[in-house]
């Protein structure tokens, strides 16, 4: 397609995110990220990726997942027929996003571990000074 055919000049003028993250509190009390794709169901959530609410007959209104994402595929920015390599690239980046989200969760755990360790090291120092 050429280097200039796939770049910022082709971006849409309006974009809706199809992938978000939601934060859950894990058993140890730390925040954990989870990928949220448009159309998946998280009843109590509202936010940039909220699904449209629909009223069910006779039941309390609860948010329902949209049957099909209304957001256009970003692949369409680059034409109707795009090379297979671009589709593969999109799939790779989607996998990469899941990995990035997992890494972000791990990073939170690392930061927590570091702060715990710092606290314990301080305590140890104080105990050491106290004993002396």
């Amino acid at each position: 397609m050429g280097a200039k055919s796939v770049g910022p000049l082709q971006y849409a003028s309006r974009m809706e995110p199809q992938v978000c993250v939601c934060t859950n509190e894990a058993q140890n009390g730390l925040q954990k990220f989870r990928v949220l794709r448009s159309g998946s169901q998280i009843p109590e959530e509202v936010g940039p990726c909220e699904a449209a609410l629909r009223r069910r007959k006779g039941l309390t209104r609860i948010p329902e997942p949209e049957p099909f994402s209304a957001s256009p595929n970003p692949l369409n920015w680059f034409g109707i027929l795009v090379p297979h390599s671009l589709r593969q690239a999109q799939a790779s980046f989607q996998e990469g996003l899941q990995l990035a989200v997992d890494m972000a969760s791990l990073q939170i755990q690392i930061n927590w571990g570091q702060s715990q360790l710092r606290g314990l090291q301080e305590k140890l120092k104080q105990l050491g000074l106290g004993a002396a």
Partner: protein
């Protein structure tokens, strides 16, 4: 309890940003600033910082000792709240992806970021492979142990 859906922001070169936008993270509308920044040859460090640095960190006085290089005009603009929306200050962003070579340009801003959310992830680019020695998190971990601790 599950939290609200949050965006993934990206600060990177053209290929990195295009790739992640293909992945579906992009938000661009008239109501909010975009959640991505394409860093090109003529993008200044101030522009990158402006996008990244949290208004709250500066206003609350958590200014690093190394921040004396900041342009006073920039600081005045921050205080008056005239600057554009920064990723760290937005409460609708959960993760910021940033190419490591760009993170190096704004290392002081990254090191000043202490909150767990938004999480800042340094990622490689096509031209610059990932170097663990430069990563903020791993550098902090490296300095935590002395030789005596490990005996």
């Amino acid at each position: 309890m599950a939290g609200r859906g949050k965006l993934i922001a990206v600060i990177g070169d053209e290929d990195t940003v295009t790739g992640f936008l293909l992945g579906g993270i992009g938000e661009l509308n008239k109501n909010r600033h975009p959640n991505f920044l394409v860093v090109e040859k003529d993008t200044t460090v101030n522009e990158i910082e402006d996008t990244f640095r949290a208004l709250g960190n500066l206003l609350s006085g958590e200014v690093e000792a190394s921040s004396d290089h900041l342009d006073p005009q920039f600081l005045n603009e921050i205080d008056s709240g005239e600057d554009g929306e920064q990723f760290l200050n937005r409460d609708d962003i959960g993760i910021i992806l940033i190419n490591q070579y760009i993170a190096e340009m704004v290392r002081h801003a990254l090191d000043a970021h202490q909150r767990s959310i938004p999480a800042v992830l340094e990622i490689p680019s096509k031209e610059h492979p990932y170097d663990a020695a430069k990563d903020s998190i791993l550098r902090r971990a490296k300095g935590m142990f002395t030789a005596e601790d490990l005996r």
